[in-house]
């Protein structure tokens, strides 16, 4: 899922400062699961903004709140039409995709981001998410025992591990496991160490010509493994 984090309250207050009436718009999918922008967070943020403006005495905003099932699908935004016509801005707690689809769907009303979209990740434990996929468009997981070096190695190298590994940790952050040590151990237990001894040629970065589009069968043309 997409993992995001709510922006600091002060930053959100600066973003909404020019507008009087604001719709705080939650998203019922990824950001609900990671607790950044679901119905609950919309309600908390609404309360926090009200308290802040009473305390600060600077600017008087009126707020509406609503949460759609998915902001990244236009059809889920259609029922919002009446509410949007009442406001001066939409503060979206959806991911960066959600904010942009909202902006496209309602071109006359400014769409503001209420969260920082972080990464695609998995739940590690309650309240902790770890990045797992870089969406590189050229999946190498078959060669690396199901552990992604492009995402989880800080240098994203294909012929790892580099020389900086210490006690199984990354040279750049001793709290993070070295992806290549994990790959080595898993390949060893799978009896596939030949895969780490093989040479992998430079990556094909044409698989990520931004912005990307995935349209059925034509996605095959986007690249493909060169290893």
């Amino acid at each position: 899922m997409i993992v995001a984090q709510q922006k600091p309250l002060e930053e959100i207050r600066r973003l909404i400062a020019p507008y009087e009436k604001i719709l705080i718009l939650g998203c019922g999918t990824c950001v609900t699961v990671c607790g950044a922008g679901g119905e609950r967070e919309v309600s908390f943020l609404h309360g926090a903004l009200r308290v802040a403006q009473v305390k600060g005495g600077d600017g008087v905003h009126a707020f509406l709140e609503y949460t759609v099932k998915r902001q990244c699908d236009r059809e889920f935004l259609d029922p919002l039409g009446d509410r949007v016509s009442e406001v001066d801005a939409i503060l979206s707690l959806g991911c960066g995709v959600g904010v942009q689809v909202v902006a496209e769907r309602f071109p006359d009303v400014p769409a503001l981001p209420g969260v920082n979209t972080s990464f695609m990740g998995a739940t590690e434990q309650g309240g902790v998410w770890d990045e797992r996929c870089a969406a590189c468009g050229d999946c190498r997981l078959a060669e690396t025992a199901g552990i992604c070096p492009i995402t989880r190695c800080t240098k994203g190298i294909l012929n790892g591990p580099c020389a900086g590994t210490k006690n199984g940790k990354c040279e750049a952050n001793k709290d993070i496991d070295c992806a290549w040590v994990l790959i080595y151990k898993r390949l060893e237990s799978l009896g596939q160490l030949d895969k780490i001894r093989r040479y992998y040629p430079p990556r094909n970065f044409r698989t990520i010509p931004r912005p990307r589009r995935l349209a059925g069968i034509t996605s095959i043309d986007l690249g493909g493994s060169n290893g």
Partner: protein, 312 residues
Amino acid sequence: MSPTRQTKSNLERVFEAGQFAVTGEIGPPPSADPEVIRKKARILKGYVDASNITDGQTAVVRMSSWAACLIAKEEGLDPITQMTCRDRNRIALQMDILGIAALGINNLLCLTGDHVKFGNHPTAKGVFDIDSIQFLQVVKGMRDEKKFQCGDEMPVSPRLFIGAAANPFADPFEIRAPRLAKKVQAGAEFIQTQIIYNVDKFAEWMKRVCDMGLHEKVKILAGVAPIKSVGAARYMKTKVPGMDVPDEVIERLRGVPKEEVSKEGIKLCIDIIHQVREIPGVAGIHLMAIEWEETVPGIVEAAGLLPRPKFD
């Protein structure tokens, strides 16, 4: 040039003559002052067969390696340009390779590079378009097949003696000899290792390297360095990625009076040189007296490595 020799590198010539090689290291200054390089080069001249010049070591901005190499060359050294993949994509790397070869540099050390977070611009973007092993293959392809990474051909190829680094002390130990094999396969002709303080572990790594027959395909220079203080030893043990400083080393330095510690650090370095020379497959030493270049002549002499071979 002999038929087997690829380049005009003095270091390659020393190996070809069957001599035990000595390389040194110069850290370029964080300034535009050429005198710093000249001064260090004059200290090393006559005591090393070639000298590395680091490329933004620990991701700190300094004079570029290739530019400092030109200054060192003017002072009579055979410089080894270090080049990392941290700051350049494959296009920039290949352009710089053409440039250094055209300017008369004979040696290139291909590195992935320290992470930007260690340096003085920790918010910079680390490039890492390719890694050190892919980089070696690119350089070899340029030199031997006159081809760029994309396959296009060039009329005049860069004649560079190709080197790489190896760290016997990083995890997992079992992958370190096979990873060296990958570097050799990709094009490495000489290897400079991480600084050795754990000689037993290095010997075990060399045994595995020799068992794979790699010492016959690549010249391995054992990395050594004098230690200035107990604090420096502790710092290397705990803070420097991929370093292995056994407690005995720290105890040895702590066992002498404070004013004797740096002298003991030099003695330790000489002892380690003697020990690694005895290990089968070791073809030379790489002496990294970082910001302590003035110790190099004394260490090389005390280790019995003088005079350095001279060729016409």
